[in-house]
Subunit: 359 residues, 2 copies
């Protein structure tokens, strides 16, 4: 097991990464304020892991209740969130009862937001069961739901007490979702660490095969990079924006194609290629850098070409992005591989060229 | 104009109290991060004050948009909150756009919660137009909405950048609502300041007449007491609970009688009498203290007798209160006039006696 501490003063918390962690209640028990938890999961993950988690917690003397939500990004909305509130109120969950998120990013985001809002804040624990959520939602405290007019528009910054990333849960993850998680792993290399990018190129086969040492290293290094960035900028005023490489484009793809048709990681992957292409047009990346980026993204099993939304639709959906400031679009681009910058200075013709050119 | 600063480190903010403040944009402008605001108000307050506020802000070079919600506690729910989100998204409000709450406690609570959640947090300003909201919502950062199973169950702690309490707005407040606000003012005397309680007894006529000096003093002293308590306990772990004198009973009255049929302040007033009666049974208050409390509450134009909900209903609705801990009800009671305590040790027969005795 590897452990990383996210350093946020009195809201610091540990991330444990390794195989078999779901079977180790001693990692969870010290973080409970009350011998009572409510586990939130979904119809896919619940049948796989809920009984096991409940069993070890109950053996540890904890009262365990659960809420099983429908699975999918399409349910990341107020109606589903309200199922959690209903369950908490019907069962009379208290302020010191702990909410546990058992599932992927959607479960983590909704459970975290429910915890942030229920009685104005109750403790929660993340047990992410997808690679994407292990490397993304584990750090940063972003919680929330979608609105019909925009993704993740309603939410809170709210930190968990503990994150438990059991790499064994990846064995039941569909290959397409493993790839979607790799998109974020690749992102950390692109924005922060060229050496890690090289390691990913050399170890992509091991990652697809879920080699325990390789997958743990990839998760650990990803969380470490994200934690370094977030520690400098908890509420997303400045440098943290670099974590959104590919996301402005990616959100537009997800919205344009309908939530859930492209996986988040797939949209981000195609978005990162667009960001690399814009960076090349600005003279920051060489063509070889873009080729290398696309090759790694393809090797991860991800799309390296964005869908053709049409320029108006692109601009419309990107305008709803949270990185808009003073009415002006801001982009995360690459100064070089391993170094990101945030800029509002992308000439309209460069943007239009990349978005409408044959890819 | 009197000014009070609520001291919360980097989230400190001023409360300005006085006549004619709505006409003084120079009090608002320095707090805007962007020359753009969205004002949230309701169908009662909007026609009275929205044009005036918008006019002075626009004269100051600010782009002003607005959302007018239906009026009443019955609308303090997700559906109404979502009208704010819809408007913010349709108008593409940004993270640094300021949301302004113009109205009473319901508008303030919902607007503050919308600000806390929109893009995970945008700045907001409170312009409370009722006495209750001027002395209650101005301090403490509590925001939220009701759930069919419980009042204020979904929300956030979120601080405004500024509170502007224009006492002129009280001239259009119905007498019944002025009285409801006086319930909270009396509460501050009961829990914290016996001298202020005496001042209230001596000045109740002036307060009903909206004597400018008297009403400003009552608001200022109330906010000051609340700020002292909240500064010690921002997120409601300890002493802050004393601010809920009468509220455990009051929430049960509001729920039992149907949201909105009893005003919050009326329910709290009757609840404070119950708390005083329990305190008398425990030997803390003399009968004369209870008589004096009831007389002041009646003088304020408030009910000093709770409705008969039936013991089971009382206990059921009180069990949903946020002050439940470890399944045990906790009560805010009075050690003496001017000093509150929080206790879980109320014998069941004392509670049952007070709740079911002829009042």
């Amino acid at each position: 097991m590897q452990t990383l501490t996210v350093d946020l003063g009195d809201r610091s918390y540990p991330i444990h990464i390794g195989a078999g962690l779901l079977g180790r209640p001693e990692l969870i028990l010290p973080h409970l304020a009350q011998k009572r938890v409510v586990v939130v999961t979904n119809t896919t993950v619940g049948p796989l892991y809920l009984a096991r988690l409940s069993g070890v917690l109950e053996a540890g003397g904890i009262a365990v209740e659960n809420v099983v939500l429908p699975d999918g990004e399409a349910y990341k909305n107020w109606e589903t969130l309200n199922l959690i509130f209903d369950a908490l109120l019907i069962r009379r969950a208290e302020r010191r009862t702990t909410l546990i998120a058992l599932g992927g990013g959607v479960i983590g985001d909704m459970t975290g937001f429910a915890a942030a809002c229920y009685q104005r804040g109750m403790p929660f624990i993340q047990i992410p069961t997808t690679l994407l959520s292990q490397v993304d939602s584990s750090v940063g405290g972003k919680t929330g739901i979608n609105h019909p007019l925009g993704k993740n528009m309603i939410g809170a910054f709210y930190q968990p007490k503990l994150v438990l990333a059991d790499t064994d849960t990846l064995k039941t993850l569909p290959a397409r979702e493993l790839s979607a998680g790799l998109a974020e792993v690749i992102k950390y290399g692109l924005i922060w660490d060229a050496e890690f990018l090289g390691w990913l190129e050399a170890n992509m086969d091991k990652l697809h095969a879920l080699d325990p040492a390789a997958i743990s290293h990839a998760i650990h290094r990803s969380c470490e990079i994200k934690a370094q960035v977030v520690a400098q900028d908890e509420r997303e005023g400045g440098i943290r924006a670099i974590l959104n490489l590919g996301h402005t484009f990616g959100h537009a793809i997800e919205t344009g194609m309908g939530y859930g048709n492209w996986l988040h990681g797939e949209a981000v992957a195609a978005g990162m290629v667009l960001a690399a292409q814009v960076s090349q047009h600005l003279g920051w990346l060489a063509e070889a850098d873009v080729v290398r980026t696309r090759a790694l993204i393809r090797a991860a099993g991800l799309p390296d070409t964005a869908p053709d939304l049409g320029l108006d639709t692109w601009l419309d959906y990107m305008g709803h992005d949270k990185k808009v400031e003073g009415g002006k679009l801001r982009f995360v681009l690459l100064k070089k591989l391993g170094e990101a910058v945030v800029t509002g200075d992308v000439p309209a013709e460069v943007l239009a060229g990349v978005l409408t050119a044959p890819h």
